[in-house]
């Protein structure tokens, strides 16, 4: 899309300028110039790129918008579709599992994810409407650490992030029509919950990674800035367990009620794991990184329309929502590793056989060996997290419950074949964070029970267990 620009401030980045003109760009690295997702073509005008002045001739210079400033009065840029930040994430509005509680008044449950915010409206025990959108905080970075750094930089920045997520939620509330809603409940990872309440998450950023609070007061929609809902209705928040094991997992525990030997695993940028033994509940988190969500993988994509969700042995693939393939989401990346390894087109170290630098899915989509190594690191983190926790507890794992949006599209046989999941009974349980939030909205009397649940698990920092590194390195290889 071609856009005419008028300069506002002399130091404003092109990314910020485009944002004000209604063309938000993909700033998943937080506008630090590292991911290269916000590239635009400069067609006319003069610019400063990383401090260097340039005038555009001939037109078509490619530049990272976050590192570029328009220095002339006017300019013109071409914004490729791939650089735009998508504002709807509707495919992820997934909810499976046992039916919601039966109450006549409409209530709304919200799952605040680092990437995606999903909401569901319940009426009379049935799902009346669903909605989801990308978290508006994405422009401050694609991971919780970037969000912590930004929020901690000033009270204004903290307020910016609080407002960004409130704005996203307001869009969803408007879409669901919250005007007749009597209660709202939210669940999210600990940093998302803190930011929603406008609490500075800085302590979560460094050892011992303790959140300023695990439990949150019941506030009104008005106080939470949820202006699309009746102002006086209560907003409840699922309490968190620890800095990196949040209310989303507490909601998951409440929904799935893991039995001794059952492990609840939520695979995302951060992979959270809860394991119940005969004595107690343990929990931990492993940094899998954003590779499965497309971070650092140019052909990668989130699970949105146009993403390849499955890759088959004959080289064909399926695309979410049909249409042209615009990228691969995590489930297709796992299929890819499994399919090529089975055909011996990948060796145990993830190197292409016969030697090649890239593997092409289509004319425009391909993956390099270096990017494959990123996938191996992500799957190794998940595998090592599961194995290290199970070994530490000295309890055999009977069953794995897979929660979260990523698991929804996962081919379990392929995930096992590449060694990401152990060869055990695995069940996909859906977005239990969203379901748990909806349940709390319908049954507010369960909040004390959730608080009790959130205090129960013992947190195990993986990095303190020497076997984690060993399991991680084992996990890097393809069986």
């Amino acid at each position: 899309m071609k856009l005419e620009l008028t300069r506002r401030e002399k130091t404003e980045s092109l990314a910020d300028l485009l944002e004000t003109q209604g063309s938000p760009l993909d700033l998943r690295c937080g506008g630090n110039g590292t991911c290269g997702r916000c590239r635009v073509q400069l067609l006319s005008g003069t610019y400063r790129i990383d401090g260097e002045e340039i005038s555009v001739s001939p037109p078509g210079i490619s530049a990272k918008a976050c590192r570029t400033v328009l220095t002339s009065e006017n300019g013109c840029v071409e914004v490729p579709e791939s650089s735009r930040r998508s504002v709807s994430g509707s495919i992820l509005a997934d909810w499976t599992g046992t039916p919601p509680p039966h109450i006549p008044e409409p209530v709304i449950g919200i799952d605040i994810g680092t990437t995606t915010v999903a909401a569901v409206k319940l009426v009379n025990g049935t799902i009346a409407a669903r909605a989801s959108a990308f978290n508006g905080q994405s422009r401050f970075g694609d991971n919780v650490i970037s969000r912590i750094v930004h929020a901690g930089s000033s009270p204004e920045a903290l307020e910016e992030e609080r407002k960004a997520v409130a704005d996203t939620i307001n869009e969803l509330l408007a879409e669901l029509d919250a005007s007749d809603c009597v209660r709202i409940a939210v669940a999210g990872n600990t940093v998302m919950s803190l930011l929603f309440h406008g609490i500075d998450p800085t302590p979560v950023g460094t050892m011992p990674f303790l959140p300023p609070t695990r439990c949150f007061p019941i506030r009104t929609a008005h106080d939470c800035g949820l202006l699309s809902a009746p102002p006086a209705i209560p907003v409840l928040t699922v309490p968190a367990i620890a800095g990196y094991v949040g209310g989303d997992l507490v909601a998951g525990i409440a929904r799935t009620n893991p039995q001794p030997g059952e492990m609840l695993v939520d695979i995302g940028t951060n992979c959270e794991i809860v394991f119940r033994t005969s004595e107690t509940i343990f929990c931990t988190a492993a940094a899998a990184g954003p590779a499965f969500e497309g971070g650092g993988i140019p052909c990668g994509s989130r699970a949105v329309e146009g993403a390849i969700d499955h890759f088959f042995p004959d080289g064909t693939f399926s695309v979410l929502g049909g249409g042209n393939a615009r990228g691969l989401c995590g489930s297709a990346m796992i299929d890819f590793l499994a399919v090529l390894r089975r055909k011996e087109q990948l060796n145990e170290f993830g190197r292409l056989q016969p030697e090649a630098e890239r593997f092409a899915f289509t004319d425009s989509l391909s993956i390099s060996e270096e990017e494959i190594s990123q996938l191996l690191k992500a799957k190794a983190a998940v595998a090592a997290g599961i194995r290290t926790l199970a070994d530490y507890c000295a309890t055999p794992v009977k069953r794995i419950l897979l929660a979260g949006g990523f698991a929804r599209y996962l081919d379990l046989a392929n995930a096992k074949a590449i060694g990401m999941l152990p060869d055990l009974d695995c069940r996909i349980v859906g977005n239990t964070s969203l379901a748990g939030a909806a349940e709390l909205a319908a049954k507010p009397e369960m909040l004390p029970e959730l608080e009790r649940l959130s205090a129960e698990p013992r947190e195990l920092p993986l990095n303190t267990l020497p076997e984690f590194e060993n399991n991680f390195i084992d996990g890097l290889m393809l069986p």
Binding site: G205, E369, E469, M477
Partner: protein
């Protein structure tokens, strides 16, 4: 007779059990420690490191090889002092205060050992007092690692702490950049483990 070629291959392919078997057999036959290092282990790490620099190997292979290297080193480390081997430099390495991520730091430590340096591994969550202790033990380069943007600022404190001394401070880790290193006045930065070895080589004025 020790098969140095087999030892190198075992390290590069990450075959820990093979490395253990070859090194143990060599030690039983009273093989020269210096030969084990100079003809087996150090060239193996250099080879995988150079492949990495040429984009012919990636982090997983580097980690797998480094672990095999560490397995072999652990067997001979107690004997190195007695072998009269001359130190080419002593480096203290640790993940900075507030951070407990170790895998990247451990990789750099093994690569440095693999290049023949003495390495004092201070572990994670290191404050300036920990680095000081290592300097007292003879380290003249302090290497700081951080995986979290939230813990990077502590590197500046380490740099300030050693300002005006002979100790050089070098930094690295996923969120760390050359620009950040310049900003805080660090003596060096590397974006990866093999680059860290080259950086240390250059700080000791050795040929790269």
């Amino acid at each position: 007779m020790t098969d140095f070629g087999a030892l190198r291959t075992a390290i590069i392919k990450g075959k820990r059990n093979d490395v253990t078997a070859i090194v143990q057999a060599a030690l039983e036959e009273k093989e020269d420690i210096n030969r084990l290092l100079d003809e087996g282990m150090i060239p193996a790490m250099r080879e995988i490191g150079d492949k990495f620099s040429r984009n012919e190997a990636y982090v997983p292979e580097l980690l797998i090889a480094a672990r095999a290297m560490q397995t072999g080193l652990a067997l001979i480390e107690p004997l190195i002092a007695a072998s009269g081997r001359k130190s080419i430099g002593k480096i203290a390495i640790g993940t900075v205060k507030g951070d407990l991520h170790a895998i990247g730091k451990n990789l750099v430590a093994i690569m440095l050992k693999g290049a023949g340096y003495d390495v004092i591994d201070l572990g994670v969550n290191c404050d300036t007092a920990k680095y000081d202790n290592a300097v007292k033990q003879g380290a003249d380069i302090v290497a700081c690692s951080s995986l979290l943007t939230t813990t990077m600022p502590y590197m500046k404190e380490v740099v300030e702490h050693f300002k005006g001394t002979n100790v050089k401070v070098i930094i690295g880790g996923a969120p760390v950049t050359q620009a950040f290193a310049d900003e805080i006045g660090a003596d060096g930065y590397s974006e990866d483990a093999n680059g860290a070895v080259k950086l240390v080589d250059s700080l000791y004025h050795r040929a790269c």
